[in-house]
Amino acid sequence: MSHKTIEQFSEEAKILIADYVTKVDDLKPKERTKIPPQEMPAQDPSTRINNLDEVALGYTMEQARIEAMRCLQCVKKNCVDDCPVKIDIPRFIDHVAHSDFEGAAGVIKEASLLPAICGRVCPQEVQCQQNCTVGKALKDVDKAVAIGRLERFVADWERMTGKISIPEIKPTTGKKVAVVGSGPAGLVVAADCRRQGHHVTIFEAFHKLGGVLRYGIPEFRLPNDIIDREIETLTAMGVEIKTNFVVGKTRKLMDLINKGGYDAVFLGTGAGLPVFMNIEGESLVGVFSANEYLTRANLMRAFDKGKADTPIYPSKKIAVLGGGNVAMDAARMSKRLGAEKVYVVYRRTEVEMPARKEEVMHAKEEGIEFLFLQNAKKILGDEKGKVNGIECLRYELGEPDSSGRRRPVELAGSEFILDVDSVIVAIGNSSNPLISQSNPEMKVNKWGNIIVDEDQKTSMDKIFAGGDIVLGAATVILAMGEGRRAAEAINKMLAEETYSENQKIN
């Protein structure tokens, strides 16, 4: 497949837009569906496997406008229904079609705080784009209006032009909110609570902010600059930040309330310990959880081999077990770290893979080999205890299981050896035990995830939770959605407290 440069995309778009620009308001639905879907310009695969720069380069202005013109402005907005934070999608897209990018940004910001991040990492094909009328009309979900790319374009435009506005902050209420964890859920809670005039402190265990956005998602998918900008906005809003602070250890959870004077606490501590396969050989040298591998590479900068002190294992042939976004990130990162052969081993087929489609496509372009309907049975090691292969089994798809996906059934006698020197296990996380360990009264489910009510309130007074610590391993946007709900409940609770305090005084 020949690689198209951003300049080529730009030229094509310029020619196209000349045809449409005068009749942007008069296009009939049929004409709109005939507009060619705009592809995302990307770095050349042969170049990008040697750098950490972002792969997807973003639409050009012309591309964005053309793509926006594909939107039918439906009366029944399936896209909005399927958006976890209910962005008024057709309205923002209409602004893009009319070159009013500032207006578009305003519409998105009404519902979503972190569009530059969501535009990049949301699984749009199973959310807003899934039931898009254009995609339905063209009988191909991949031809739906590229809402995510447009969202990213708008957010990037806002950032590049320096037009990011600091949200208005209400007068100081004297109430204090503690946000534990600076991942997507925590960032949203911090912003939403601060806007109401509460004093907000973010407590982060790591030395850097962003949680999974920084330690988990590689820069080639979400550059650190973007996270930094979001955090700068929070700081400018007056949010206090404490890094190297483990709530439950540096201070006990209840001490935040009893001694620290916080009126509410939001726990967004994220997913916890990695799940392993429970197969023989998992403690051999050369077996890593994706969490460890990615944290070394991303947060600890192991990619910067001359500079970083944190080492990364010198893998040449590597197998990544799993089929989600984390598996894609680990596989593509290992390629960039110098692995010659990278396999993704997944026991179902490509259709069932939970990873974002774009990531799978990019991974394939980068030479990652997918071994579908196969799974590791046993990891093999040499006399020094280092990985030197995996014994795999082949599978076929049987009847659907409780998740609705067809259950993979192993084919007896189909064992074969995959020649690798490293294995990355990317099959999910269990919950982080720190909070529940030190607070036995906190109600958790059998997987250790914190149980919350519809307001994200935990079983403990004044304490709310959201994101992966509640959901198990989920997505950035779902975590943000939970954060938004929690912030609303916290703000309501604090407003009621203030009201009753004032009543007493009067």
Binding site: H207, K249, T250, R251, F276, V285, P311
Partner: protein, 284 residues
């Protein structure tokens, strides 16, 4: 930021530092550790056990051995300088109660984390027998401090340059053979030493607790790098430990995993040493 308040070289490669960390000083208990970095952007996260704490001064004490580039850089930092990142207290605190007679065995730098545990056990009314050992006299640390706590005190060196000549497992075995067996053994030191202490006590069925220092990145229950096999279960040193039943720990596997990055780290260390030499030469 965490300022270095005091620094002292205890032996050739072993340093003691008191570092400002008021909240950690208040919350920490014997057996817990911290993670620090000497550079916020590119430094690695080094787990170190808290050897002592002073709530009044708002400080914690760490004792560490220079084993690679990061600890070498740390050893070159001076009083008044600040560490860019320090987090804790991490891990589960040692369970302290009156067990009866407890043998506290410390090997090399392992005496540093052992000291607060021995103190806590003593305070809880236990009879404390302390055995500390090192390769040679030079490497013995905290002798007076341990002696002050112990009801019975034994020093060993491998080369016989000080105290009894031999390994710590020899007096440990003798104590286990006494008519009144000890109620518990706590062994902290190099992995091999902890392994052999556990093997020594196994036939006598004396519960032996070890404190593991594995590869670790976040230290808060996220990365899974610190996993060890204990019994037939996978345990995580950062949240389930660092202390485990030595009779159940798969030491061989742990030692093997500890060596995962040995070659890379040795190269990095040598590279850094070469650079230091170059700098010195340039200065001359």
């Amino acid at each position: 930021m965490n300022k270095i308040l005091f620094k002292k070289q205890l032996s050739k490669d072993v340093y003691l530092m008191r570092i400002a960390a008021p909240m950690i000083a208040e919350e920490r208990a014997a057996g817990q550790f911290i993670i620090l970095q000497v550079d916020e952007d590119y430094g690695e996260r080094i787990p170190l056990t808290i050897a002592d704490a002073d709530i009044k001064e708002g400080s914690i004490t760490i004792i560490y051995q220079v084993v690679g580039k990061s600890t070498l850089v740390l050893s070159k930092m001076e009083v008044g300088e600040e560490l860019p990142a320090l987090v804790g207290p991490l891990g589960t605190a040692t369970h302290i109660e009156k067990f009866g007679t407890v043998v506290c065995v410390g090997g090399g730098i392992g005496v540093a984390p052992l000291h607060p545990i021995a103190q806590a056990l003593k305070n809880a009314g236990n009879k404390v027998i302390a055995i500390i050992g090192a390769r040679n006299k030079e490497l013995i640390i905290l002798e007076n401090e341990m002696n002050a706590i112990a009801d019975e005190f034994i020093v060993c060196t491998d080369d016989g340059s000080y105290g009894r000549k031999g390994l710590v497992t020899e007096p440990l075995k003798e104590i286990c053979e006494r008519e009144e067996k000890p109620n518990m053994v706590i062994a902290i030191g190099p992995p091999l030493m902890m392994k052999f202490c556990s093997e020594t006590t196994r036939p006598y069925e004396v519960f032996t607790q070890v404190s593991l220092n594995t590869i670790m990145v976040d230290g808060t229950g996220m990365c899974g790098g610190c996993r060890v096999n204990v019994g037939n279960q996978v345990k995580f040193v950062c949240v389930d430990g660092p202390e485990f039943d030595g009779h159940k720990v798969d030491f061989d596997n742990m030692i093997n995993r500890l060596n995962s990055y040995k070659e890379i780290e040795r190269d990095a260390h040598n590279c850094y040493l070469d650079a230091l030499v170059d700098e010195k030469e340039a200065e001359l």
